[in-house]
Every structure is written in structure tokens, then in C-alpha cells.
Subunit: 659 residues, 2 copies
Amino acid sequence: MPGVDLTAMANAIRFLSMDAIERAGEGHPGTPLGAADISAALFARHLKFNAADPRWFDRDRFVQSNGHGSMLIYSLLHLAGYDRMSLDQLKIFRVLGSHCAGHPEIDQDAGIEVTTGLLGQGIANAAGMALAEAFLNQWFGPDIVDHHTYALVGDGCLQEGVGQEIISLAGHLRLGKLTFLWDDNRITDDGDIALALSDDMVARFRASHWHVQEVDGHDAEAVSAAIAAAKRDPHPSMIACTTAIGRGIPRVEGLRIAHSGRLFREDTDAARRHLGWPHAPFEIPPDILAAWREAGSRGAVEQAAWRRRVEALPADTRRAFDRIREGRLPEGWEGALRAFKARAAETGHSDHGYKISGDIVDLLTEAIPEMFSGAPDLEGATLHKRRLPSFTAEDRSGRYVHYGIREHAMGSMLNGMAAHGGVVATGITYLVFSDYERPAIRMAALMGLPVTFVFSHDSIGIGTNGPTHQPVEFLAAFRAIPNMLTLRPADAVEAAECWEIALTHRTGPCSLVFSRQPLEPARRDGGAENRSARGAYVLEEAEGGPRRATILATGSEVAIARAARALLQAEGIPTVVVSMPCWELFEAQDAAYRAAVIDRGTVRVAVEAAVRQGWDRWIGEDGGFVGMSGFGASGPVPDLYAKFGITAERVAAEVRSRL
Amino acid sequence: MPGVDLTAMANAIRFLSMDAIERAGEGHPGTPLGAADISAALFARHLKFNAADPRWFDRDRFVQSNGHGSMLIYSLLHLAGYDRMSLDQLKIFRVLGSHCAGHPEIDQDAGIEVTTGLLGQGIANAAGMALAEAFLNQWFGPDIVDHHTYALVGDGCLQEGVGQEIISLAGHLRLGKLTFLWDDNRITDDGDIALALSDDMVARFRASHWHVQEVDGHDAEAVSAAIAAAKRDPHPSMIACTTAIGRGIPRVEGLRIAHSGRLFREDTDAARRHLGWPHAPFEIPPDILAAWREAGSRGAVEQAAWRRRVEALPADTRRAFDRIREGRLPEGWEGALRAFKARAAETGHSDHGYKISGDIVDLLTEAIPEMFSGAPDLEGATLHKRRLPSFTAEDRSGRYVHYGIREHAMGSMLNGMAAHGGVVATGITYLVFSDYERPAIRMAALMGLPVTFVFSHDSIGIGTNGPTHQPVEFLAAFRAIPNMLTLRPADAVEAAECWEIALTHRTGPCSLVFSRQPLEPARRDGGAENRSARGAYVLEEAEGGPRRATILATGSEVAIARAARALLQAEGIPTVVVSMPCWELFEAQDAAYRAAVIDRGTVRVAVEAAVRQGWDRWIGEDGGFVGMSGFGASGPVPDLYAKFGITAERVAAEVRSRL
């Protein structure tokens, strides 16, 4: 647009942002004002996108990782012409129901790729997106998939440990289309960054083989040139942009108060004088708006050409591409899984929990060419890799990521892969290490992303490795997370059912939890009905009369429940065993079904090698619970189950004492 | 000892370790064999300790952060002469009840300073110990407190994000007496480290201003010289020791299989031939054992001199020193706290939850000169700093740590401070960020360390910052952790009571949880009795007849419970309000008390702005619950409470519908 330079475009961001923050009475002005020039350079000159079609699959991805400065992305998206981000929305920033929430919340129709605000998550998501792109790029070729991922990065993202995990791993995997734009303003919430940081940040990136440039973050042309250089370099790029936080408001510029301090009308007036912006609040002069709208629609031509290339694909490739970008699994993908289930039921298949999962993953990775897995340095103990070549800097066709000893990176990259689309994102580690990736698991649930988190070694059944490695409180902690299914199968049949549930559940993550020790066969029916999908069901009926007792269990403890039932039945006590692989799915059943399964008129006892918390919902206040009341111990598995009294005899005794 | 060199001493570690692992049939031989020379150099030449008095306060601290190689520390401690680490214990490595558990478990009488095995935690604990030393060193002077902290570090510790947080923060705080001995063997569980790591690790340390040396890790003399140089340098030191994993067993040396592969008698036989060690399993020749025992008792002389210096302290200083090293609070410390409580009760003190906590911390930090606090870049929003100068590289008398945006570092350093002793370790952040430090919180509980974790902004009451920042599942997730008290006070009076509980609870951590929004006064009795110490109690009695309804609540929702009671009482329904600041303490009360408080014969409804999980234990299957069933939203607080139906009217309706 003649006469409209990047600085003017950046100032449009500044004024929209400060006007919205002033109107809301709160918000974080520091970032939108400080990083306005950086993001104007990116959006106006480089970002491949089409505001009229926010979900164009081959768009560049942009993540504002420093989500607290959310007015930046709202202003950008409004200016670029995203329908959902209207001026009216900006005017109700932070009002309940506004698209302009306190922190950006995933809304890909509005241009918000992921929810950000927990520092470090956004850049890790971005790395996951870049990984997905690299894989699909080699699969479908650069005519079909060829886009960059940009993240705007604050100091917090780089101080958080997950930030370094991502620097290390993205460098190692040479994710060359990943670019970080570091808003280096030397101010955090506490004040001068020197209060808590002495790192040579550039050296940290270089130590992991990133391409690093240092520019004046208020020289938008310089930023633009650096982005161009970043695109040419085969390594991931970090552009350190020196900025002044809160740039443009004389009272706050460069100061701590700019981070999240309140703005007043005098501030926005002063900024208008200071920057020569005579326009009223929320008013963008037509030439500047036109320049922005041109940037927002520039991609339409490119998209049209891309669409023609997609349409010209061979039919098979076209079908595969349409399928993966729509998130549909291949037709008949479940065939091998169901055959596995039928066979397991028929043969009474018994094996270590994680081995069963490994066998299933072998089948799934063959049936689903977009399925990814990986583990943080536990390949041998989790068995997800056997049929998956490694995804490496040299080989983008691999589907297994050696994450290194970096659980947090794994979890948050899986979120990025799922948000990107086109791949089925799964990853596995020991259950006890899930604490390290818990922030990412929570974000998957909050965003409603279809990630399958897999865990092995799920209880004291890990044995001699001892209490550090024995997750006694983790099932409860998982079940507390809204919008996630926690699935703990009892045997190979339930394992197949739970995997099927996980891969078809699209509105949130699933956590699949497997034992280390062998799972005895519990189910001998291997038909089409997925009984685990009801969450809980009667596994063994009462015999010899109306049911008097109900034993509820999950996972490896279903075998103990069955043994206890045998003891009680031998004593003439008609006893039911309920297997409960997924509480959340059971909770979603109708009341009649739940009542029939639970049967409050009977004595109820639950057994699970974990803490009691939450079980009262199913067994009532007077129910019995056999499980853990504290941390575990180091010793052989049978000794531990005996020490902690998680035995069939104890379960039977709990029933008897209540009859 | 003439004729006994460090290599012979190291081989004693190797054979004890491999014999124990071979006998146990499992274990991780890689580290004890690979790092034997490093640790022999440290223990024989540098470590200040006295095996006869493992708790000598001014001992050097040694942490084996790569805890999976636990036979290393067990061998070291046995050889050095720690009574509890007898040969018989080594022979039952990994047997239930052995001091030689799968991973080292804190046992300071045996020389195990902290539990390790979750990678990255140990080095962070070590940094916390070094911080405590630096503070006490300036307080009591180098004659009384002057010791080093050493951590043996594996690749996992440095790949985990928390590792970088510690590298950055220890460098920034210039913890010069902290030394990492990096067992750089280039092998992890998956195999060659190049599978997942390309970092220039030395550059990463240098970027944070560490003193770095690179040595041959099998040249014990070179390692010893490097340790000497590290002690002289004012920066934290990292000694990169190039080693061969599993050194000494020809079949496994340098290979992935050495990490955790099984050893057989043929292996130990081959090692005996290879290293010229003709001695039987578990047999240490007298000269080598004597050299080790000399190393283990060398500190006795130094300790005796130190004891004389302690005895010569001025009486006041001596009293203070004895007190802090025994973990006793100053006499009368609770005076100001109780006065605050009495005043709050009298005046009906109302304020934002975190401000109340800040006011209390102001009093406590004055009363308790060894009390530390800090926050990860949330000074202004948590208010723990007002009376605490910063602990910095230049000023060791400060008691507030600017942790930077590094929650995980904070949590695990607090554990190290508590394990070190002599300081009262507290730190604060938003509740939602506790996920980032959850591995450390769990370790505090597992170790039984008296850490006070403080959290603010504990619910949707955070308001417009939105669901990323609203912790709906965190109370449940905390309550699931064994051996931790989770305390959520309802008002200023309970806040004072809960702080008193936290600082006097010595057998495990406490999590103190405060609202952002104002807490209305609930309690007008400010006497000596600590009612919160019973976990739950009747806050408001029923009036006008026998109780028909019981409303249970915690924290900010106690006000809603009280308002609901008022509605119901107005309708003639005698209603009790139970405040439940701490479930764990209530669970520990006798059954009669619990029954009296809960009163199962009444209609029970709980209200808490969090998920229901766990509440069924107190309200029963038919109880009502008013709270959150999913994630929150971004909006003003009153709008959110209305949107999610957490209101007095709704609580009253839940009661009415059950009468």
C-alpha cells in the first residue's frame, strides 16, 4: 500500500491494543506495544495465510507463546481481517464470552492456533507443529505441504525448563522451518530481568545449533530481513529482537509497570501525541486498514494455486491427504485391532501390560500411516518403537521420536502436533513421569485436543525400583482433570477396546495406563461390542442367588477382584465383579445403567493399587477399599502386594465384614 | 594408605556394586562402574564428612542425582564406614526392607541426603543445599558453616528442563560451593546419546557463567585436581568427566546394555580377570578397606575442631545455631501470629487471600530469622517479599529468592533447603503453576520434608485471566498426594491457624492455598485454640431446632456456605456450616468427632469452586455438590460464579431438594 509502512501498521496494533486494554481496565500492554513492529513485519511480509480461510491446511502457523500479552494477537487478527475477530469483540476484551479472553484460547476459525498463557507451552506446541509439517512435507511433497511455524517468545518461555528442552530437541531434530521471534525486552513481572537471569541466551541457542540473529526489534525492516534469512537457513532460527516493553506510552515504556500495569486515558492520549496518531480510539485510518487487509488476503492467490495442486494429485494421494487433514482414520483401520481382540479373547492372551500395548501399537502403526509415537528415553521399556523408524534430522519419514529425557517437551509437542493436524499424536512414558508433563496434559484437556498419552509401569507393580517410581496418586490426579478420559485396561481384550476408544475420541485427550506386570485374561468375549466404552460393566455375574456383593476394580487389580469373587462364591456369597476401565465414560452413562452396574443394595468393595480418593463415588461411604494409603516401597512385586495388603483374601474379608 | 591408590579404591566400588547387582539379578551397573573413579576421588580426597557422625551439620553434602545407579552410593557409604550401610545390607540390594532400595531413599543417618531417581531433582536439591549453606555461612561465619555441595550428574539430569533451570539460577546466584560432577558417558537407556542430544553441554554451562573443566573421568587424580580447582573458583563448577559406562566388565563396557542390563557371574568373573581383582564377591582386601575407612573418618579431626569453635560461640549465637540446626523455631515465634489472629477475629478482618498471607509472612519473617521465601517472578502478585531483602550473588543475607520464571527449580530447591536444614523453606506461586513443580512437591511428600509450599489465585476467583490460570482440578490433585497437608483457609483467622500448622508440621510438606479475591471474615473467635488443626469443624451451629442440613466448604466458598445457611435458616431449616480447611487433618481425627461434625443423618451439601472428586467421602453418594464440572472461563469474578452456579441460592436449592 503506497504510503503505508510497517511502522504505521505496527502503530495500528499498538493503538487497538492500548485502547482495548484501557477500556477493559486491565490487560498486559507490554507485549502488544513492544512486539508490534516484530509482528507487523511477520504478518505483512512473510506469514502465509488467508484470513478468509483460517483453516487452510498449508498456512504458516503463528503462536503467540507469551499469551498474557493477548491483545497483540487479537489486534493482529482483527487487522488482518479474520471475521470472528471483529472490532466489537476487541471492545469487550476480557468480558465473559468475548473471543478476546484474558489469554488466547484455541479457536482456529479465528486464527488462534493454540491456547497460550502457561509459559513455555506455546513454543513447545510450535515445535510440535514444525515436526508435523516436516513429516507431512516428506510424505506429500513440498507442493502440498510446505509451511513455516513462527512463535513469538517472551523471557518466561525461555526461563522455563520446557523452553530449554525444546531448544535442545528442535536443534537436534533440525526443525528448520521453526522460527522464534524473541521479544527481548529485559523486563519481567518482577522488574529488571537481571533480578533472576544472567544467561547468555544467544549462546544457549547456539549450543543447540540454532541459527541466531540479533536485530533491533523496533526496526521492522530489519526484523523482516532476519525472517527472510531464517527461512533460508536449514536450522531452526531464533531472532533476538531487542525491544522496549510498552513502546509508545511515555509513562510506561521500558519499565516494569508496562508488563501488566493498568492504562488510563491520559496514557493513550499521550501515546497519540507521542507517536503522531490523531485517530480516535478503535479507529484505524483506511489506508492502514487496507494495507493490513491486503496482508490478510495476500495468501488467497497462493492458496488457489495450492488448491489446484491438491486437485491435481493422483487419486490415492488425494484421498490420503484429504483424510489426514480432516483427521479421519483410514477405512478399516480397526480391523487388525479387532482381530487382535478376538484372538486375545479366544486364546486367553496374557502378557505384561506394556507389552500388550506395544503389540497393539505395532498393529496400529501399520494400519495408520500418520500415527506417531515416541518416548523420553524409554524405548526398551515401553515397546512403541518396534515397527516405527525414527524421525530424525536426516529422515523425515520416521514416526518415532526419541524425545531424550524430556517428558515435558514430549507432552507439549504432542499438543502441537494434534493442533497442527494431519498426524495421530501419541507418546509413552512411565506413569510416574507424567508429573513432568502434567502442564501439557492439562493443556490438551483444556484445548480439547485428541492426543493419546500412554503410560506404563502404573503402580507398585513396578516393584524393586521403589516408591520414586511407583505412582500411587496418579490415577486420582488424572481423573481430576476435566475433559480427559483415563483408561486403565484389565487385560488384552480391554486394552484393544481402550485403544479403540482413544483413537476415536476427538474432543479431548485420553490417557491410557498399562501395568508393568502381567495382566491375566479377564475377558473371553472378543466380539464387536466395545464393552469398555461404557466405562464400567459387569465382568462376572453373581451365581447361586441374587447378588450380595459387588467388587469394583481396574487394570491389574481386576485379577484380584476375580480371585476374591471366587473365594466368596465358594462360601456361597453371590458376588459380582465390575471392571471399570474408564470412570469418565461410566459417569456419562444413564442413571439406570449406572445403578444396575453398581447396585447400591449390595456390599461394595473396590480394589485398586492406588489411593482411595474418588472411589467413594462408586462404593459409597460405607464401602470397602483395598489399595494404597501412602507411598510404596522397593521390593519384588508379590512382596509389595502382600505388604500393602492388596490381596484377594483382604478384598474378601472387606466384603465379609460388611455382609 | 601406602600402596593404595585411587584406582584400587575405585575398583572396590566397582566390585561391591557389580556383586550386589549380580546377586540381586537386576540394578543399573553402568553408573557405579563408570563413575567409580570420580567418586573415589571425591570421597577420598575432598569430601568433608565423618562416617561416624553422618549428621554433622557442617559436612559437605553429596547427592547422587542419577539415582538409578544406586549401588554406587551404597558401595561408597559402606566402604567409608557408615554403620547403617553394612555389607549385609548390600547383599540384600532391592529386597523389601533393605537400606539398599532400588533408588536411594533419604536416610541421613546412613549418608543418603535425599531421595533421588526422578531425574533432575537431585541436582536441584543440591542447589538448594548450596543456597542454604551460603545463607548460614554469612550468618554464622565460615568457622561454623563452610561446606561444599557435590552432585554426581548423569545425562538425564541435564536433559530435563529443571536441569537447565538450575544451571541458569545457580549461575545467576553464583553458588560457588556447588560442584557438579558430570558422568559424561554418552549412553542413555535408548543407546547412543546422539539419538536425542546434540547440545554442546559445556557451552550451556558457560552461558550461565559456570566454571567448567573437562577431564578424563577414569583418571582419578585428574578428577581430584579438578575438584580442587572447582573449590577455588567463586562460580558454581561443572566438571565434565568423560567416562565409559559399565567400565570394567568387558561384555558391557561402553555399551547401552551397561545402563540397566542384567549382570551374570561370568561378567563379574571376567571383570575380576580384566581388572586384576582376585578377591571373592563382597570381599574387600584389608588395605583397600583401611584406606576407605581412613577417608571416612578423616573428617573426625576437623569435626572436633569445628565443635570447639561452636562451643566457643557467644551464648546468643550458640543458642541460635543450635536451634536452627535442630529445626526448632525461635521461642515465642507464634506470638505475633496469634496476635494477628486475635486482632483479625476482633475486627472482622477482610482482605484478598494472598494479601492476608503476605501480611502473615511479614510477621513470620520478622519472628523467624531463618525463614526464606521467594517466588517465580510473581513478587507483586504474591506479596511475600515486602520485608525480605533479596538473596543475591552479592548479598547472602537476603531471604527472598527471585527464582525467575522457574517453578520447578523453586520447588526442588526448597526440598534441598529443607533437607540441608537450618532454614525454614517456603515459596509461593499461583496455584495453577504448581503443575510445573509437582514432581518436587511429590518428592517433598515422599521424603517427609517440612517444606511449606504456598499458592495464591486458587480458583476461578482469579477472574479475567481465564481458564489457563484457573485451577479447578488442583485441590483434588493435591489431596491425592500422600503425606501432604493441603490447607485452604476461609478467612484471616483460619489463615493464621493454617500458617501455624504448616510451620509446626515436621513430617512432611504443607500446601497453603489462598484466594485472589477477598475473604470475608468467618471466624470471630481468635483465642488460643487452633480449630483448623482438627481439619474441619462446625463453624456455625444450627438454630431453631435439631440440625437438618450440613453445608461443607473450604476457603472462599465458606462465605457462600454461610450465606446459604442464612437463606435456609430464614426458611426455618436449621443448618450447620462446616469449614474444612484441611481434609487430611480431619481424616486423622477420631471417628466420633468426625461423625459429629459431618452428621450423616442430615442433608449434606458441599461447595467448593473446584471439581467434585473426593467430596463424596464427606457428603456421601446422595450429597449435593456445588462447584466446577469443567474448566473455567475468562470474565469478571461475579460473572464467573454466576455462570458456573456457585452461589448461595444454588447451595440452598441443593439442600431443599434433598429435605
